[in-house]
Symmetry: C2
Subunit: 160 residues, 2 copies
Amino acid sequence: MKLDPYWVTGFVDGEGTFYVGINSQPSMKTGFQVLPEFRIVQHERDIQLLYALKEFFNAGVVRVNHGDRYELRIRNLSVLKETVIPFFEKYPLHTKKSIDFIKFRKIILKMINQEHLTKEGIVRIIEIASQMNRADKPKAQEIKKDLQMDKDNVHACEKS
Amino acid sequence: MKLDPYWVTGFVDGEGTFYVGINSQPSMKTGFQVLPEFRIVQHERDIQLLYALKEFFNAGVVRVNHGDRYELRIRNLSVLKETVIPFFEKYPLHTKKSIDFIKFRKIILKMINQEHLTKEGIVRIIEIASQMNRADKPKAQEIKKDLQMDKDNVHACEKS
């Protein structure tokens, strides 16, 4: 199936998600792992379309999302930067999802710059991600508070 | 906002619905009214896109769907035949919604031929509509049974 790029952007305006997961990860210096992903979810009856989209982007995996729903998921940072972001810059989204895309791009670029590996960077990333209108990630304020407390502890130790 | 036709078909693959409502209407000869409609539903934050789609098709009304959701709805039979159907013939849907579209088109053409005004015609239309995977319309078997009973009554009267 040959997909027109404008069809792809229209379909993503309807069915796509730009998502940034923030997971608690005590083994990391910042305490958090940042997991951006672009995904498109479909009922299994349209799974062939997910494979066509995978071919279109030449990236990602098709996997179960939930129950009888499947998703194409792209997580690879350099693919997101080199393929996904330039695509939606060339064929812009028309829904308010375009605002999520801008925030998603901002976070990807920060990650490329390794900013997610510093506490200041991750606070900023969590702030941006928290404005992406996602229900399924930790509350930014709580994480910020944790990080702030942690930072205060470090300062306290330095002073003593 | 200028919409590309492929974007429109991609967006409709995600967010559009081809729907045929069958309403009990005792005042009509067949006892039923057939109401085909093409609609696109969006959260109110993207209402401007519904107006852009209205302009694109040069038809329809933007109205409340439910709660904070709005819809562009096109019901006019000649607009469906002259504008909507030719559009999706030229820019085909890629999801299984394309099967609904074929059934929708079949019903529209039957209506243009006035077939919905005969009992045989409406039985066939209800059969097709019942395969359109809609939850919110009466069950075809029940309506068929009603119509059959009604037909039997007519025959009984003719015989007496």
